[in-house]
């Protein structure tokens, strides 16, 4: 209302300003990030660096610092190619949809443009608009769920390096943390996400309940991390699918081949059922009342690992009650005996000296 009032008053300055802004609109391309920018990339970088590199604010200078070490910097993929040149449009960063659109500009399935051919990227790019029934699991926004993971959630936005580089988010050194969820995104280390998608808290159970994860924490260089089992890195690292999908490497029909990669051909005939990602918090202490019982873990209503859980209780009970309690009670007895004993000894000595005198 107030604004209308101002306009009616015929404020000449304001009208002139509006005219000026409107006349600039054609220069600011309406298609935003898809605009071809006929500027020299080095110039555009210097232009961005004016504010984003020379300021002490880390929110401003972190992106260019990370980018300068990235594989994109090495290949002259500059700020404008992802962000465009129009600051006002992109100052709050890209949305998830925009990320997909930006990355797939170069990283196409057919490999015609720069970058490697990654089927995962392709399906991801098309899925957001028209999600098919089953495909790349991270590309599917499941019903009632928040947005799925997109390229940058796993690869980072600015600090993208080669997968074999230790600083890469998807390198052996960092993949556990990345799958667990970086920054604000809660992923496979989050109980919330685990419950929401009906999956296990994968990072937690990997680190605690597999020898792989325990050796990993000790710095072992040979044990598998997420990607060695869940993505067939030889053909397509993006082919992460639910274990129920027959194309997934961890599908019961395929998983023995994955085991055999490290454990030898004997694994091809091994009885691999159930899940490597054990979540003992879901194991009932007595009989299970759950209606849905995962087949290999139940004998009737009894969960196989219930016995193991009862063993934990036995451990606590024996140590606390029998040993600690009885020992501490015995302690008072023995202290009494000891102090009494000293008094008697001293008494004897005193008597002895008296007799001697």
């Amino acid at each position: 209302m107030r604004r209308l009032g101002v306009m009616r008053s015929g404020n000449l300055k304001l009208v002139l300003c509006l005219v000026l802004i409107i006349s600039l609109v054609p220069l600011v391309n309406a298609q935003g990030i898809d605009q071809e920018v006929p500027l020299d990339p080095t110039n555009i970088r210097d232009y961005c660096y004016t504010c984003h590199s020379n300021q002490p604010d880390t929110r401003l200078n972190t992106p260019p610092r990370e980018w300068s070490k990235s594989i994109h910097a090495a290949n002259d993929v500059t700020c404008d190619q992802c962000h465009g040149v129009f600051h006002s449009k992109l100052r709050k960063g890209l949305t998830k949809r925009q990320y997909v659109a930006v990355c797939t500009k170069c990283h196409q399935l057919d490999g015609s443009a720069a970058g490697r051919a990654e089927p995962g990227f392709y399906t991801l790019g098309t899925q957001i608009a028209n999600p098919p029934k089953v495909s790349f699991v991270h590309g599917i926004a499941r019903e009632g769920a928040a947005e799925p993971a997109v390229c940058v959630d796993c690869h980072g936005a600015h600090a993208i390096t080669d997968v074999d580089d230790a600083s890469s988010w998807v390198s052996r050194e960092n993949i556990i943390q990345t799958c667990g969820g970086r920054g604000e995104s809660e992923c496979h280390a989050s109980k919330k996400v685990a419950d929401e998608y009906g999956i296990s808290n994968a990072v937690e159970s990997y680190l605690r309940n597999t020898f792989h994860g325990r050796y990993y924490q000790h710095g072992d260089k040979d044990v598998p991390t997420c990607r060695e089992c869940h993505a067939d890195t030889s053909s397509d690292a993006h082919n992460v699918l639910p274990s129920a999908d027959s194309r997934s490497p961890v599908n019961p029909a395929n998983v023995k081949k994955i085991c055999a990669n490290c454990h030898g051909d004997k694994m091809l005939t091994a009885k691999i059922t159930g899940s490597m990602h054990l979540d003992l918090s879901k194991v009932p202490l007595l009989l299970s009342t759950a209606t849905k019982k995962t087949r290999p873990y139940y004998i009737g209503p009894i969960h196989i690992l219930t016995l193991g859980k009862l063993y934990i209780i036995q451990t606590i009970a024996i140590v606390l009650f029998i040993i600690l309690l009885l020992n501490i009670l015995d302690l008072s007895d023995k202290i009494g005996e000891k102090t009494r004993g000293t008094e008697e000894e001293e008494g004897e000595i005193e008597e002895g000296t008296e007799e001697g005198e």
Partner: protein, 277 residues
């Protein structure tokens, strides 16, 4: 000078030493893998010289304790052929009453401690815990060692159960030894800094009268030659006695420090007890 009763044979003493040496090696090499997130875990592996050494030492010690167990079984099956069920180590109904009386005595409900024979109920429980625990850990340990073969016959969930049993039986054994057994032979004001029975196998007469009165009566009646009138290992035993007279109270401090240290070492792990294997 008090008398001593010869209670443990050389063979028994050697077995005990072999068991505790392999046992400690197993604990030290095993626990870092059970609790990789504990602060002491990485340090221990470093001390052992890396993960490969840890695994190798754990297997060597495991084979060692299995060998001791097998020697033990074969000795008492083949060489010492006393009828199994009538051995003094077997539980009898009397042990239940002894146990109740011991607990009652500890809680000051009765003034009479139980009169026990060759082995007290606690010693029998310790022995059978070791027997059961070693069998379970050895069996599950072998399954985990030769997992590629084992998985041909058992499914992965069963394998995971075996792993869990291995892991928690080990924790149980460790805590039982460090709190239970160590109290009775190390921290207890009567023995601190330690009983030497494991070396010379002789028990003091007063201790015999208190712990094993029925056995003492039997020895006096049937084998009086087992009663010796001199202190065994005179030098060392005399030194330990003298030390005990001066610093017995330190044992209580060490016991409490040990409990505190264990709580500190495990405190951030307690919350994982129900979700970790």
């Amino acid at each position: 000078m008090s008398d001593y009763v010869a209670r443990l044979t050389v063979f028994q003493r050697i077995q005990h030493i072999a068991v505790f040496l392999t046992f400690f090696l197993l604990v030290v090499t095993g626990m870092p893998l059970k609790y990789p997130q504990a602060w002491w875990s990485i340090e221990i592996v470093k001390l052992l010289g890396g993960l490969a050494n840890r695994a190798l030492l754990h297997r060597i010690a495991g084979v060692g304790i299995i060998v001791v167990g097998l020697v033990h079984i074969f000795y008492y099956l083949i060489i010492d052929r006393a009828p199994l069920l009538r051995r003094p180590i077997m539980f009898t109904p009397k042990d239940i009453f002894d146990m109740l009386r011991s607990i009652g005595y500890a809680f000051r409900l009765t003034n009479e401690p139980p009169r026990m024979g060759r082995y007290t109920w606690g010693e029998k429980m310790e022995y059978w815990s070791v027997a059961w625990g070693t069998s379970l850990i050895a069996a599950t340990g072998l399954v985990m060692w030769f997992k590629e073969i084992a998985l041909q016959y058992i499914t992965l969930p069963i394998f995971q159960l075996f792993w869990m049993l291995h892991s928690y039986e080990a924790l149980l054994a460790t805590l039982t030894v460090f709190f239970g057994h160590f109290y009775t032979v190390h921290y207890s004001p009567r023995f601190f800094p330690g009983s030497l029975i494991f070396l010379h196998g002789r028990m003091e007469m007063e201790e015999m009268e208190e712990m094993h009165p029925l056995e003492l009566e039997e020895i006096e009646r049937e084998k009086p030659e087992l009663i010796e009138h001199k202190m065994p290992m005179r030098r060392i035993q005399g030194f330990v006695y003298a030390l005990n007279r001066r610093i017995w109270a330190l044992g209580i401090v060490v016991f409490l420090i040990f409990i505190a240290m264990t709580v500190i070492a495990f405190v951030d792990l307690f919350k994982y007890w129900f979700i970790g294997v």
